[in-house]
Symmetry: C3
Subunit: 400 residues, 3 copies
């Protein structure tokens, strides 16, 4: 089989695997887009358009959604080289009956109209699930999110803890915690009790992970009053993996678009987690790193620590150049049973398809080059390896 034929064949095999997406920002009561505005409101597009010169005038809540979409699309001829633009074209083709190869300003109205029509279908959510071959998707829940009213077998709750760890002293947080747990935190013992109550609440609703994003200079330490450490203790007790998303500085570009203000300091090391990884051998830590430059640490720490596993390709590293390099390194150095291949990080379900599509093509190419062409794996074994990264490991590691 030709090189390209092999990659196409593997990609097709991977496309057929039902997805369990282990990290997203989907709202379970509003999981799909209502119009093109929900698609183009994804921060990637507002960021890139703004970075390329678009003013933020039309990004405000009072602006007309159709005008906003026109403007973001009008700027696409400045960023149509990016991977993110590729996702958008993929969405238009997959969900909006678009047949062109490039979206330009003149397509804006037709796409907007098509989105209103398509997304209004009563079964749109089911259609997206079906077209995406999506089985389950993990949520990112604030500690006091409502966990009722949706199918937790499809929308898997996940306790997100940034607020608890980094904003506990901000006004209202303690009150929200009291409201949801019934515990009024006044000292360390009541704090411990309240945190534990959150885990009870989430586990009762089928939560499969605790998660947090962390700044590059964060180093967890076992102080009695550390909420972070309490989270790890509860992960141990409740047997939940603790997703660490390492390396983000918030609000670096203060006047940036919504969700487009965060950047990083690449001078960050997993050695900062040395004490944590040693203290909790029973807790699995699926680790995402923000920079590809940290991937070798992630490979090495995962190769040595049984409880550290590489988790997907996060944010600024979620473009093919970084995914390809990072994936290849992980496949050469980390036991395959520990590789959580990908997650969508999506805010709306329509993005799961193009993002996983990108990943599957890279996965197919990487496995073809690294294992099939050198004669190490035949095609059936190659499909099994890809399935492991796409699905099996998510099931095993998150106990789904």
């Amino acid at each position: 089989m030709s090189a390209d034929g092999l990659i196409q064949s593997l990609t097709a095999a991977f496309d057929a695997i039902p997805l369990i997406d282990p990290h997203s920002h989907i709202e379970p009561l509003s999981p799909v887009s209502k119009s093109l505005d929900d698609i183009l409101g994804y921060h990637y597009y507002t960021e890139l358009a703004h970075s390329a010169g678009m003013s933020q005038k039309l990004l405000g809540p009072d602006a007309d959604p159709r005008d906003r979409c026109r403007e973001i699309i009008r700027f696409m001829d400045r960023y149509d080289n990016t991977a993110q633009y590729g996702w958008f074209v993929n969405i238009c083709k997959s969900f909006l009956v678009f047949t062109g190869d490039r979206v330009t300003a003149k397509d804006a109205d037709a796409l907007f109209d098509a989105s209103l029509k398509a997304f209004a279908a009563k079964d749109w959510e089911q259609q997206v699930f079906a077209k995406t071959n999506l089985e389950k998707i993990f949520l990112t829940n604030e500690f006091d999110d409502n966990l009722d009213g949706f199918d937790t077998a499809k929308y898997v709750p996940c306790l997100r803890t940034d607020t608890l760890v980094f904003k506990f002293r901000e006004p209202g947080v303690r009150e929200r915690l009291a409201k949801v747990t019934g515990i009024d935190v006044g000292d360390v013992p009541t704090l411990r009790k309240a945190v534990r109550a959150l885990f009870e609440r989430f586990v009762a609703k089928g939560a499969k992970a605790c998660a947090i994003s962390l700044p590059p200079d964060f180093t967890p330490t076992p102080e009695g009053s550390s909420i972070f450490w309490m989270l790890a203790e509860n992960c141990r007790e409740f047997k939940l993996p603790f997703d660490l998303m390492i390396g983000v500085n918030r609000r670096v570009y203060e006047k940036g678009v919504h969700q487009g203000q965060d950047l990083f300091d690449r001078r960050c090391s997993l050695i900062q987690y040395r004490e944590l990884f040693n203290a909790f051998p029973e807790v699995t830590f699926p680790v995402s790193v923000l920079t590809s430059g940290q991937n070798q640490e992630l490979v090495a720490y995962s190769w040595i620590f049984p409880n550290v596993v590489p988790n997907g390709h996060w944010w600024y590293s979620n473009i093919p150049a970084y995914i390809g390099a990072d994936l290849r390194e992980r496949l050469q150095g980390v036991p395959k049973t520990k590789l959580v291949g990908y997650y969508s990080d999506a805010y709306k379900l329509e993005f799961v398809l193009p993002k996983y599509g990108m990943y599957r093509r890279i996965l197919a190419k990487t496995i073809a080059d690294e294992f099939v062409r050198p004669g190490t794996l035949n095609e059936t074994e190659a499909v099994a390896l890809g399935t492991r990264l796409l699905r099996d490991n998510v099931r095993e590691i998150f106990n789904v």
Copy 2:
């Protein structure tokens, strides 16, 4: 078309684009070489020969230039694997009627003679411009450089500010500033006045950028007495881009050859420029980073900040392995209108041709692999994309 045919076709198209080279160290009154000694005196050759064992004896001002060239060439069989050696062979073939594939010790005299003959042509400067398809080239001017006596439409002045920022207290600098501005700096207000006068002087002569190289531990802060901050303020007022060349430590190898003493500490982050980028949204910062490891930061900061743009491939990153990786990342993550593809950094005009030649081949291969073969761009569109990186963005960003 075959893969190689496509790359050749794109390379040929890129070769036909007239160059505007946005950063060099050309002396406008002596822009071309007078003999092979000017070619081989470029620090890349003296560095590599010395690093490979050549003594510095023949590098002194009293040594015979022909002997010096013989010696540097004699050592080439120790460094003929490098990209820099490739530039030299390219120069010999393009400008010195050399027809071999490799330059060895026995070629030294013939090349030296050929250089004397070729470079003595009255129109040599015009010949080099023509063969190089060069339209304009930016200079690197000390604040008190003479800006008269050359065609500033061809040789574009650029205010280099390392001396002002890092050597202001050294003997003679204040005097030089007084001489060129007529302002005797005694306090912050007179300093501000003098700095502003420099911008007036340069802008009057058609300067298109302010530039500086910065050590890896530098963090600009808005103190009233900070010359760096004043430069940014003047860039805002005079609408000049501010080239930041980030990451060099000077004189690390103290006994190294001339211009071959500088290295770096890779532990450097663009987060150090957070306050600057936020404070000057109206100033465009074309940023060069010294290490490929910092390229992901450059991609991410350029993707988020409208005023940050990636600028070329600098110095230790100016070899194909780094250019190729960095370019691919930038093309996937940054709006294409923000990508300043390349600059020569040349000291003599003869180097523009081989350096841009190297870049254009990498650009052609990258665009072929990333856009044409996957079917995203046809060949005409691919040429337009390359033209954007090679020329259009220089014109737009530097307002040429």
Copy 3:
């Protein structure tokens, strides 16, 4: 010739070059394995099996070696994607008459039996030398190791100095030093005398290098009492290269398997060695870096400093993804006469073959892609370039 044909042809030519392996942990009085247990006891396998979930129960000294091998092999279906697994299959095929493509649990007993038989041959050591095309291999000797009873022309002594520099104050070290040098260290002058005596001892036995591994935060400074600095002074006096293996933190995973506890902090720079490299221009420093992210520094420092040379691909960087990238960068930026291509780091001789085999394939592919296909080198010249990295430079740099 087809691309694959060219790589195969170059690989075959490289396979024919007798190896001088400039760094290993071979015990010269027990250089080969006695059973499969010595092969699978290599920390790479215990680490990966443990990381993939194997308990350490069977790793203790009291466990049955056959049971231990069964267990490590049983877990291979969790890490059979790794480069290290590839080395093991290669060993089974080369030394244990194994004819399959994959080793699985059911092969454990047959392999164990085969190992007992094969390794019991009286000339096993000679067989391994012959099959590996190995001429000489460097050792890693503690300062008081017995240097008698083996052929130092084959097993080249090398003074390893971690204990002296980092554990000098631990109980027993001073006594061991006194015992082997006859000098009772009480102050700096006696310390200097004792260190010098070690060099005399090693050089008399044909030692060809002094070596040390260093934590990422180490910065050598010229204090009178610094043992590290004394080592460099003696390297100068005795004309020994000083191998620096930069970047390892010991015992990061405290409960890890034997030799599987060390990791690193990637925030490490060669700028820390600035003073050392300047102070000892006469000493050659073959430098190994633990992370690929530090390779650009290694390229740049080797390109500038005559006394800095890149040395092999160490530990966590010794997998194809990192070797390939790092090698390509070195070949483009560093004089070829300064590139020490590879060392095995092996504990048992059987590992030299698969590790060098991996390297030679990468070397062949890299030279084919970078030099032969672009027309810069013909195949004969390409073989010469590879020979230089594999053998010539080891001979010249270590004065073998």
